[in-house]
Symmetry: C2
């Protein structure tokens, strides 16, 4: 066990050149030097989100930006529609309730994507909703939702479309402007290959208008404050300078490769994970699997956390466990961000070793072979 | 111009060993390994704050923790007393107003500390205030306030004492528990020698009780959520892992040296800066100078920003300018965190060169000699 492989859906491995960039002597943030870095990072982010609008960068976890997408768009008592198909969809609802909003939930069976007709029906019944909150990749269930279809449903309505792309961006396809998204919320520690600590919101023109009219209290996460500072390529509060320096480098790496190529790579890694699981006699948890992370059901009678434990402590490969009701039932293999073919090969190898040790019957090498086949493009 | 010297009141230089610690391959946060790091960091912070109570760590700028100190203690319409003697004192008032609080300001002439009798009088007239917000070191004016005396005034009342120690901690003396402070707010990029991105709140028992009763809306900054997670040595949301790893190291460095020794060193650096300024025929802006940062008045007829510009672009030394009305009138030399005697020596050397270039008359070498005398303990 020499090298360690981090296969969790955030944080994902941070490439060495990005880590080195962030380890340079720190610079001051109210300088032309930093402003140029910040501007490059922001312009680079726009390409990843596929937006010509604003992308605001907050120093916070992704949850901070989720809160921003609520407090900036809504006023007390507003109605919001929230698609809840896992822990993170539920979080939008919790934030709405914490701010006294009228939350209309669309509860979706975990591991499945919301049915578009259900969304259409809920929208029809709630034309007075201020916004609809959806999740591109629901990390807790490794499930991807068809945001494009939801954008189509909301077209022509006054309901704002807010999408959590925290784990999805850079792995599952996403088009902010073309799909009619008003606010996309993201974090740094997933597809962006950075440590956690930065969060982002795209803001459409009509979202900024809503922010100007919004009456929920806010200060640190105020879109208006950020927008005003951005006119001077500045931030209202001291930003996490080293992380922004890493961000500039990370978006450069992704954009040099081309975001669509990066997504294609992760799609392939996702398929490799799923094919490997099936070749080992396991099944994929989600009916609508994301290309950012794969949830795999533990074999009957086996606790998923035991598989994770062996892989981590004996084989140097870290998977993530199930969250909430899924704890012990599934394990999750991430394939977003800095996770590449080498990682995936080692992960499947470790998985086979752990399964053999734990007594699961399968054809030795079948998982590795299945993954290899996908990765070789066959 | 080989080496660069960052003499700004945040960020301050991050020592190389801390930068290297943060540049190691990232680890996952829901692990025993990370929990042990997080616990050590938190225990170390308690020693710096001199508290036996909780210290909560947020991923945000210092302003985020300032907002936390408002939204967790208060309910809509509550009255708060805010000491405003500079940009950061004013910020507490702005946050209070953003949340619909009744802000009773104590306006203090910039560059002076509040008079204790004014505080006592305001407290007497407003016994129904929920909390009083003060600033240990008002960074914008480089002024220190006697928090101990304010604590004495509040003793026996139900008014909570909240103190912004963002730039003061580790440079100006501070005793959380002994002085009766309920919430002290801090950030990572000052005395703690880290990049920006983490913020802290100490929380006394009665502050936590207030948080349980508080009715202002909150989610990301909820004390209750953090407190609940802390019982499992966990955080409610993904923390800025690499910065926390740096934090563990930084508090170790400070505590190994002893926080009182670190403060004594900065006191000496502060005196050196002030003596040097006076030896060069300049005057110190503040009537109550902090040991974290020194504000120096530009000579008559000279724009302070010109001095800063020469020092930065020609001499590799970065000072900070004045903020708000002080822009162009003062420059600020920080002496907190990783700033040491070498930095101070180079800074005063650069200052002399810039002053000479700009046409200010003084005895060459007088500033360096004055600083040296203080640093040599004479």
């Amino acid at each position: 066990m020499n090298k360690k492989y981090l296969m969790t859906p955030g944080p994902t491995p941070v490439p060495q050149d990005i880590r080195e960039e962030m380890a340079k002597p720190i610079i001051h943030h109210r300088t032309k030097e930093y402003q140029a870095i910040f501007k490059d990072a922001t312009e680079g982010l726009k390409k990843l989100f596929k937006t010509s609008g604003d992308v605001l960068t907050f120093t916070s976890s992704g949850t901070g930006a989720m809160e921003a997408s609520v407090v900036n768009l809504c006023s007390p008592g507003d109605k919001i529609i929230v698609i809840r198909g896992g822990k993170f969809g539920e979080r939008f609802g919790e934030i709405g309730k914490a701010y006294g909003l009228n939350v209309v939930p669309i509860d979706v069976e975990w591991g499945t994507a919301v049915k578009t007709e259900v969304v259409a029906d809920t929208v029809k019944k709630n034309p007075d909703a201020k916004a609809l909150y959806a999740t591109l990749c629901e990390t807790s269930t490794a499930t991807v939702t068809d945001i494009k279809a939801i954008g189509q449903i909301l077209k022509g309505t006054d309901i704002l479309l807010v999408v959590d792309v925290i784990s999805g961006l850079g792995a599952d396809e996403f088009q902010n402007d073309a799909w009619g998204v008003d606010v996309a919320v993201c974090g740094s520690q997933k597809g962006l290959m950075l440590p956690p600590g930065l969060a982002f919101c795209t803001v459409s023109e009509r979202a900024m208008k809503a922010a100007e009219a919004s009456k929920l209290p806010k200060f640190y996460f105020s879109f208006k404050k950020y927008k005003k500072s951005y006119m001077d390529t500045d931030t209202p509060f001291t930003s996490a300078i080293t992380l922004v320096i890493g961000l500039k480098k990370a978006v450069e790496v992704i954009n040099n490769k081309g975001v669509d190529n990066v997504i294609a790579d992760h799609r392939k890694l996702g398929r490799a994970a799923r094919e490997a699981a099936m070749a080992l006699g396991l099944s994929v948890y989600s009916k609508s699997p994301s290309d950012a992370v794969t949830g795999i059901n533990a074999p009957a009678g086996i606790n998923a956390d035991d598989i994770i434990k062996i892989c981590k402590s004996e084989l140097g490969v870290t998977f993530a466990g199930g969250q909430g009701d899924l704890k012990g039932k599934i394990f999750r293999i991430a394939h977003m961000g800095g996770i590449d073919e080498e990682h995936m090969g080692e992960a499947i190898k470790a998985l086979e070793q752990a399964l053999a040790k734990i007594g699961h019957k399968f054809t030795a090498g079948a998982g590795v072979a299945a993954a290899q086949k996908v990765l070789a493009g066959k």
